[in-house]
C-alpha cells in the first residue's frame, strides 16, 4: 500500500506530471538514438554479408585464389591478388610501426616522462594522429613512390605512418598501468633499466600492447586512401613486397564500387565481406587480449 490511511496527505504514488513525462520522453529519445546507430550497422552488415556471401560462395574457393579479371565487366572470381596485397601492405606496416611505436612509447613513459622533449613528442604524436589518411598517402607518393615506383611497400609505409602515433599512445597508456613497484623489484635485483623494461615492464604490459596494436592493424587493413597513390592497380598476383605494382582489397572495393558493371560491383561486395571479416577478426582477438588483461589486474 503506497497511500497512508493514518495520514491522508501522505501519498507516495507516482504522479503523472509534465516533469516526469518529459523525463520519460528524453529517455525514449536516448533509446531511439541507440536504434539509430544500430540501424546503419545492421544494414551495412546485412548488405555486405548477403551480397558478398553470394559472390564468395558462387565460386568457392576460386574467389579467394583466382586472379582479378582484367576486363571488369566479365563476371566471375576472384580477389586472390588483392588479399595478398592487403596482407603484404598491412603486414609490412605492422613490422615497421609496431616495434617503432613501442620503442617510442618506452621513451615517452620510461625515460622522457615530463621532460620538454618528451612533451613535444607527445604533443606531436597527437598531431600526427589527426593527419588525414589521404595526406599520408600523398606524402608517401612524393617521398617514396615517385622515386621507387609502385609497390606494396609504399602502401606499407603510408599505413605505418598512420599506425605509428596510434601504437605510441596506446602503448604509453598501457605502460602507465604497470605498477612502479614491479620496476623497483627488478632494480633491487640488480637489473639495469633496459633489462627492467625489456624483461619486466613490457611483458607486464604485453596483453594491452598487443590489443592496442591489433586495433591499429585492423584499422590500417581497412584503409584505402593511403594506398591509393602508392600501391598501383595490378590484377595479377604480386607476392613481392618491394617491387612492381600491387593491389589491395580496399582498392578493389573503391574502384569497383563506382563501376557500372554488375559483375564488378559483385566483386566489390565479395571483397568487402573478405575485408570486414579480416578487420572484425583482428578486433575480436584484440578484445580477447583486453579481457585477459583485465582478469590479471
Amino acid at each position: 500500500m503506497s497511500q497512508s490511511v493514518l495520514h491522508p496527505g501522505l501519498d507516495l504514488r507516482r504522479k503523472r506530471s509534465w516533469r516526469s513525462t518529459k523525463s520519460l520522453l528524453m529517455s525514449v529519445l536516448m533509446g531511439l538514438s541507440v536504434v539509430a546507430v544500430l540501424i546503419p550497422l545492421i544494414a551495412v552488415m546485412y548488405a555486405v554479408i548477403s551480397r558478398g556471401a553470394g559472390v564468395m560462395f558462387a565460386s568457392f574457393p576460386e574467389f579467394f585464389t583466382a586472379e582479378i579479371p582484367m576486363i571488369s565487366r566479365k563476371a566471375g572470381p576472384g580477389m586472390g591478388p588483392a588479399i595478398v596485397g592487403t596482407l603484404l601492405a598491412t603486414g609490412g606496416a605492422t613490422l615497421i610501426a609496431v616495434p617503432l611505436g613501442i620503442l617510442g612509447a618506452v621513451y615517452l613513459h620510461e625515460y622522457g616522462g615530463t621532460t620538454k622533449f618528451a612533451s613535444i613528442v607527445r604533443f606531436m604524436t597527437t598531431v600526427m594522429t589527426g593527419v588525414p589518411s589521404i595526406v599520408m598517402g600523398l606524402f608517401i607518393y612524393l617521398t617514396w613512390t615517385m622515386k621507387f615506383g609502385y609497390s606494396a611497400f609504399g602502401g606499407a609505409l603510408a599505413l605505418a605512418c598512420l599506425m605509428l602515433p596510434v601504437v605510441i599512445s596506446s602503448t604509453e597508456q598501457m605502460l602507465r598501468l604497470v605498477p612502479t613497484n614491479l620496476r623497483e623489484a627488478s632494480y633491487a635485483l640488480g637489473a639495469s633499466k633496459s633489462r627492467t623494461i625489456v624483461s619486466v615492464v613490457l611483458p607486464a604490459a604485453l596483453p594491452g600492447i598487443v590489443s592496442g596494436s591489433l586495433l591499429a592493424i585492423a584499422r590500417a587493413a581497412g584503409e584505402t586512401a593511403p594506398l591509393l597513390f602508392a600501391v598501383g592497380a595490378a590484377t595479377a598476383y604480386n607476392p613481392h613486397l618491394f617491387t612492381e605494382a600491387n593491389t589491395a582489397l580496399s582498392l578493389q572495393i573503391f574502384s569497383n564500387a563506382t563501376s557500372s558493371f554488375v559483375a564488378a560491383q559483385e566483386r566489390a561486395w565479395g571483397a568487402a565481406l573478405t575485408l570486414m571479416t579480416l578487420t572484425f577478426m583482428l578486433t575480436v582477438i584484440a578484445r580477447i587480449f583486453t579481457a585477459r588483461f583485465a582478469l590479471k589486474r
Binding site: N181, S186, Y187, A188, L189, G190
Partner: protein, 293 residues
C-alpha cells in the same frame, strides 16, 4: 679516482673485531661485528625538500637492524639510500658519506645496478612479477648472467627452501606467482631477493600488508636468514622491532627552523634490548611507551 679506490681496497677493510655472530639477545650490549654500512651526516633531498638530515650510524654484519619511528620521519627514505633506489626518482639527491664497507656508494664510478645486486630489497607490498614462480626466482640470477638451466633449477630450489616456501609451491613452479596468498607472495619476494646472493637484505615494512600468522612466519624467516645476510628492516610495528632486531634506530620528524618543513632525523641508535628498556633520549621513551606517534 679508481686508483685510489683500488688502493683503499688493497689496504683492506678496517679490522673486524668479532666475525663470529653470537646469539646474545638478552644481554644489554651486543658485539660490534664488522660494519657493513658506515653513514656520516647523510641527507636526502627530493627537489628542494630535505627529507632526512644528519644521520650517523653503522650497520653491522649478520645483525638485524630495525628503523622505527612515526610516519614521515624518513626511515624508508634512509633505507632506500643503501641500495641507491633513489636514483630512479627524478629530483632525489643524497648527500653525506654512505660507505658500503670501504667503498663510497655514491662514488663517481659506482654503478647502481652493481650496488643493488649486492644489496637486495623487499618491499612493503608484495610485488611478484606477473610471471611464473620459477621465473620470478630465476629473474635475478638470469639478469646477473646465470643461464645454465641446471644451475638455475638449483638456485630456485635453494632460494625457495631458504624462504620456507619450497614445500608449498614445489608442485606448481610454472604457475603464476599472482595465484599465491599475500604471505606466500612476500616470502616469494624474499626468495627472489636472496636468489642473487646479496650481502644485505633491506626490508621496507615487509609485513604491513600481511595478517599476524603470515607476519610471524616472515619474522621467523628473518631470524633464520640472519646468519647468512645482514638485514635492515623498516617497521611501524614496535613489537616487531623488539622481537626480531638486534639494534634499533629511532627516527622522528622535526620542524626545520630554516624553511618550515618537517625533516627526518635520527634520534637514537642502540642495541634493541637497551632501546626498549632504558632509552637515553626522552623522545625515544615517549614513542616507545606510546605517549607519542
Amino acid at each position: 679516482m679508481a686508483v685510489t679506490q683500488a688502493a683503499n681496497k688493497r689496504a683492506g677493510s678496517p679490522s673486524a673485531p668479532g666475525r663470529i655472530q653470537l646469539e646474545r639477545r638478552s644481554a644489554p650490549a651486543l658485539d660490534e661485528t664488522e660494519a657493513v654500512f658506515d653513514v656520516e651526516n647523510a641527507e636526502v633531498f627530493y627537489g628542494h625538500f630535505r627529507a632526512v638530515r644528519d644521520v650517523n650510524l653503522k650497520i653491522y654484519k649478520n645483525q638485524i637492524t630495525a628503523f622505527i619511528g612515526p610516519s614521515g620521519c624518513g626511515k624508508t627514505t634512509m633505507l632506500r639510500t643503501f641500495n641507491r633506489m633513489h636514483d630512479v626518482i627524478p629530483g632525489a639527491r643524497v648527500a653525506g658519506k654512505i660507505h658500503f664497507h670501504d667503498v663510497d656508494l655514491y662514488g663517481p664510478e659506482v654503478s647502481a645496478t652493481e650496488v643493488r645486486r649486492r644489496i637486495g630489497m623487499v618491499f612493503q607490498k608484495p610485488n611478484p612479477f606477473p610471471k611464473s614462480i620459477y621465473d620470478n626466482i630465476s629473474f635475478g640470477p638470469r639478469v646477473n648472467g646465470v643461464s645454465n638451466k641446471a644451475e638455475l633449477d638449483t638456485i630456485v630450489e635453494k632460494s625457495l627452501r631458504s624462504a620456507a616456501l619450497w614445500d608449498e609451491v614445489k608442485d606448481r613452479l610454472r604457475n603464476s606467482a599472482l595465484g599465491l596468498s599475500g604471505g606466500q607472495q612476500q616470502r616469494l619476494c624474499i626468495a627472489r631477493t636472496i636468489a642473487v646472493e646479496p650481502e644485505v637484505v633491506l626490508m621496507d615494512e615487509p609485513c604491513s600488508a600481511l595478517d599476524p600468522i603470515a607476519t610471524a612466519r616472515i619474522e621467523e624467516l628473518m631470524r633464520e636468514l640472519k646468519s647468512r645476510f645482514t638485514i635492515v628492516i623498516v617497521t611501524h610495528n614496535m613489537q616487531q622491532a623488539a622481537r626480531v632486531s638486534d639494534r634499533t634506530a629511532f627516527f622522528t620528524a622535526e620542524l626545520d627552523s630554516k624553511n618550515d618543513q618537517r625533516t627526518g632525523i635520527l634520534v637514537e641508535y642502540d642495541v634493541t634490548a637497551k632501546m626498549f628498556s632504558n632509552p637515553s633520549d626522552e623522545r625515544t621513551e615517549n614513542y616507545i611507551t606510546g605517549r607519542f606517534g
